[in-house]
Amino acid sequence: MKEKEWSDKRYKTANREAWIGVGLVIFNFIWWFGFAYGLGSKSPESYHYIFGFPAWFFFSCILGFIVMMALTVFVVKFFFKDMSLEAEEEE
């Protein structure tokens, strides 16, 4: 591995965006787990229903999908930068 391959100015942005991806997954997991087992662990007789679905399922899987979708659009639009991906022309 050559030295210059580790020192590219573009990596700073790229690394930040990769961390955003990790952050999104962690948030996604907490949302998904929290609603599913937080609301779904009681007995089925006492479930609340939203649009016909048990509340745990609605919040965890359906709303969770919508929220993740919105978050993904948000971070891509506002935090992801356009840049050239090509290997530098010089040398």
Partner: protein, 477 residues
């Protein structure tokens, strides 16, 4: 069989076939055959990128076995399947621009190319090529059999004829058109999968008398069906959560997925790709598995899980619409086998033949070998599928976990961690794969989780300690 339903299916196969052949003209035009044939000339736009990513990943398991399991387990299995939402954004964000930049610097065309340049080690190349060949070959056979079985069950023709039709349709355009043909047909088939699941979901909800009614029916049959814990309460939170690793973040290490993260044109394509793939993967997975759950209330008593979706479609939809909807699982299988086929052939041609046997081959030879290898591998898989083993989902999941355990750290840490060395990579691949096979065989679900989690942890320890302890050549070149 019913002709009304079969006709749209065959029209669909013919259309895909023709588009594949059309895409083949790029191959003959291109000045760099390898880049074009195995990577589509790094020119994918956002939409095609997203579609080829999602469809390569969404295979027979998500379209046949998945709904079948959801049918038996209830909403708990939909919860489990939603762990796959992460693949939509995670793969492209985490490999991301850095992977695109590095692979362009390396002029890498395959994942093994990337690993070879990064670690400069023959053993890394051999181990990674071997894991790809073994695991992807078995995954591909399983999918191939699934495709033939589907044609068989839908049309009523014999397994052998079904296998020939299916193979011919896929093989010819992949051999002639390469990666671009695969990606473009993936785009079309992705739309079919998207619409097919939507139509079927709506029809099933109507047939079941609305969501409330269906939930009521399910709860009356077995209250566990509407809990997160599965039909007999055996889906524990730890087990279900471990699928975040197997089918969520771990997917980043599947070579057929990771190679797509170096095929896009520019950052604009990447950004669009992230948004579209998140939407499409979430939408398809949610709908597909809900169809299975709802199906239990609409059409109880189906014995074989894999037939739930075809039977439902024929029950609740008019014949010709069912034909269009059933093109969806067909598409799911075709889009997976076409990518796997190309992946296996690129491994043989680019990573083995060109690296070690004929590094000096000219363009014409490479071309002959690439197309020849693709065709021969295809024929071998077809021959193997003549005596099909059962348990599609098992084979499929086995190869998935094995590849993830082998590649996750060599790819991710190789990309981001400067001190990672060839020793770490070799140790990580060996311990990852071996421990995974041992766990799966003798001690499934250590700590209540899927064994891929433990194997990945062991592989991580091996990577880090191998890199730090055996320092000799860290600072070479």
């Amino acid at each position: 069989m019913n002709l009304e339903a079969v006709l749209p299916l065959f029209i669909f196969i013919v259309i895909v076939f023709m588009i594949g052949i059309w895409a083949g003209k790029f191959v003959s035009r291109s000045d760099s055959f390898l880049q074009e044939y195995f990577l589509g000339g790094r020119s994918l736009g956002g939409f095609i990128l997203a579609m080829t990513l999602v469809t390569t990943y969404g295979s027979a398991s998500s379209f046949l076995s998945g709904p079948g399991t959801a049918y038996n387990e209830g909403l708990g299995w939909v919860l489990l399947s939603m762990t796959q939402l992460a693949t939509g954004y995670f793969v492209l964000m985490v490999l991301g621009k850095r992977f695109a930049i590095v692979t362009r610097k390396y002029k890498a065309v395959t994942i093994v190319d990337f690993l070879k340049e990064r670690y400069q080690s023959k053993w890394v190349v051999i181990l990674s090529a071997a894991s790809i060949l073994i695991f992807l070959f078995s995954a591909m056979s399983a999918q191939w059999i699934g495709g033939a079985r589907l044609v068989q069950s839908l049309t009523g023709i014999s397994y052998l004829t079904a296998l020939c039709i299916f193979s011919l349709a896929v093989l010819v355009y992949v051999v002639v058109g390469g990666f671009r043909a695969v990606a473009i047909t993936d785009g079309i088939q992705g739309i079919i999968m998207f619409l097919g699941t939507l139509i079927l979901l709506v029809a099933v909800i109507i047939a079941g008398g609305g969501v409330s009614q269906i939930m009521h029916d399910l709860a009356a049959e077995n209250p566990n069906l509407i809990t997160p814990f599965g039909a007999d309460g055996s889906l524990t939170p730890a087990y279900v959560s471990s699928f975040w690793v197997l089918v969520g973040v771990g997917v980043v290490a599947l070579p057929q997925i990771a190679v797509r993260a170096m095929s896009y044109k520019n950052t604009k394509a990447l950004h669009r790709g992230i948004i579209i793939s998140t939407f499409v993967v979430g939408f398809i997975m949610l709908n597909m598995h809900l169809i299975g759950v709802f199906g239990k209330a609409v059409l109880p008593g189906i014995e074989i899980g894999d037939t739930v979706m075809p039977e439902l479609a024929q029950q609740v939809l008019p014949g010709w619409v069912a034909g269009i909807v059933l093109a969806a699982p067909m598409a799911a299988i075709m889009t997976t086998v076409n990518s796997l086929l190309l992946m296996v052939s690129s491994t043989i041609v680019k990573d083995v033949y060109l690296n070690y046997i004929r590094p000096d081959a000219n363009n014409k030879t490479i071309r002959k070998w690439s197309m020849g290898a693709t065709a021969i591998i295809g024929v071998i898989v077809v021959l193997m599928s003549l005596q099909p083993p059962d348990l599609i989902i098992w084979l499929n999941l086995f190869s998935m976990g094995g590849l993830e355990a082998a590649f996750i750290w060599p790819i991710i840490l190789g990309l981001y961690w400067r001190r990672g060395t060839r020793h770490g990579a070799i140790a990580s691949m060996l311990t990852g794969v071996i421990s995974y096979i041992i766990f799966e065989t003798f001690y499934p679900q250590p700590f209540g989780m899927h064994s891929v989690v433990t194997s990945m942890l062991i592989a991580l320890i091996a990577y880090v300690s191998g890199s730090l302890l055996l320092k000799k050549e860290t600072v070479s070149t």
